[in-house]
């Protein structure tokens, strides 16, 4: 019973990945549009995209770290 609850908690923590997935998807879509409109500015767009993706991805990573700690600490 206890392990099941811990597993559910870790699963809920990993749900933060949804936000990161949606965010990176939107960012990449917009970046593709921007490059299609202005192909010569792709260097700057790429840089902004990587920064945005790194920041958006961080939320997913935090969720993963929390899930990891839940499993390791509460086991």
């Amino acid at each position: 019973m206890n392990t099941a609850i811990i597993a559910i908690g870790a699963g809920i923590a990993v749900l933060s990945a949804i936000g990161a997935g949606v965010g990176i998807g939107i960012a990449t879509g917009k970046a593709t549009e921007a490059i299609a409109r202005q192909p010569e500015a792709d260097g700057k767009i790429n840089k902004a995209l990587i920064l945005g993706c790194a920041l958006a991805e961080a939320t997913a990573i935090y969720g993963f770290v929390i899930a990891f700690l839940i499993i390791i600490m509460l086991k």
Partner: protein, 229 residues
């Protein structure tokens, strides 16, 4: 499944390899030893590449060394800006170290960045450099005044940022490396042939590891740029 959690637990533990018998014993953990190996490899590589350099009629080896240096420092200069040129050697060094540290899992070493202490130390170095650069370039008065910009109400948030920035740098690197490692172990457990882990290894170990080194340096140089301008 039980086997997997054992492997992960074993990899997470920071083992003490040996103890230096001075000052009552300094424990040396595995990540420090792997860091020494990485240092030795990088120093040896740099030494071999830069031996008997010439001004004219350069050898292929010297051309390669020059290509590495100019590419990396141009890349970092684009991030840190004209004013932050003094920080390029440090940032490129961190990039090389983190890149090699993330990738060295392929060669059977335990990646040092999988140890939270290593990423915490890197993040701490970054934030000290950022704040130190702010004090050096702006002077204490303007550095302190920068906390109240753009309006005085945001001062607590600006002060909080000094602590959240290294925390997020540290957790991002650690979480990415450990996440890639856990996923690789899962794939290795479920797949019967060798092809599937090999393909995913390219993404998780090589691409993600190098990307994280880039992102770490990118964010650090962004903070520096923001601080000194």
């Amino acid at each position: 499944m039980g086997n997997l959690s054992e492997i992960i637990n074993e990899e997470l533990q920071v083992e003490t390899v040996f103890t230096i018998p001075i000052f009552g014993g300094i424990p040396v953990s595995e990540s420090v030893v792997v860091t020494w190996i990485i240092m030795a490899v990088l120093i040896l590589g740099a030494f071999l590449l830069t031996r008997n350099m010439k001004l004219h009629n350069i050898s292929k080896r010297q051309a390669f060394a020059e290509w590495i240096v100019t590419t990396l420092s141009d890349m970092v200069e684009g991030m840190v800006g004209e004013k932050g040129r003094a920080f390029i050697p440090y940032l490129v060094t961190v990039m090389l170290y983190v890149g090699v540290a993330n990738v060295c899992g392929i060669f059977g070493f335990k990646a040092p960045t999988k140890d939270l202490n290593v990423t915490a130390a890197l993040a701490l170095m970054s934030i000290l450099l950022v704040e130190g650069a702010g004090i050096y370039y702006l002077g204490i008065k303007r550095w302190l005044h920068k906390f109240t910009e753009p309006i005085a109400v945001v001062t607590p948030i600006n002060v909080l940022e000094v602590f959240t920035r290294p925390l997020s740098l540290c957790m991002r690197l650690f979480g990415n490396v450990i996440g890639a490692f856990v996923i690789m172990e899962l794939i290795k457990t479920i797949s019967r042939n060798i092809l599937l882990p090999a393909v995913f290894c390219l993404y998780f170990d090589l691409f993600d590891g190098l990307l994280q080194a880039y992102v770490f340096v990118f964010l650090t140089s962004l903070y520096i740029r923001e601080e000194i301008e």
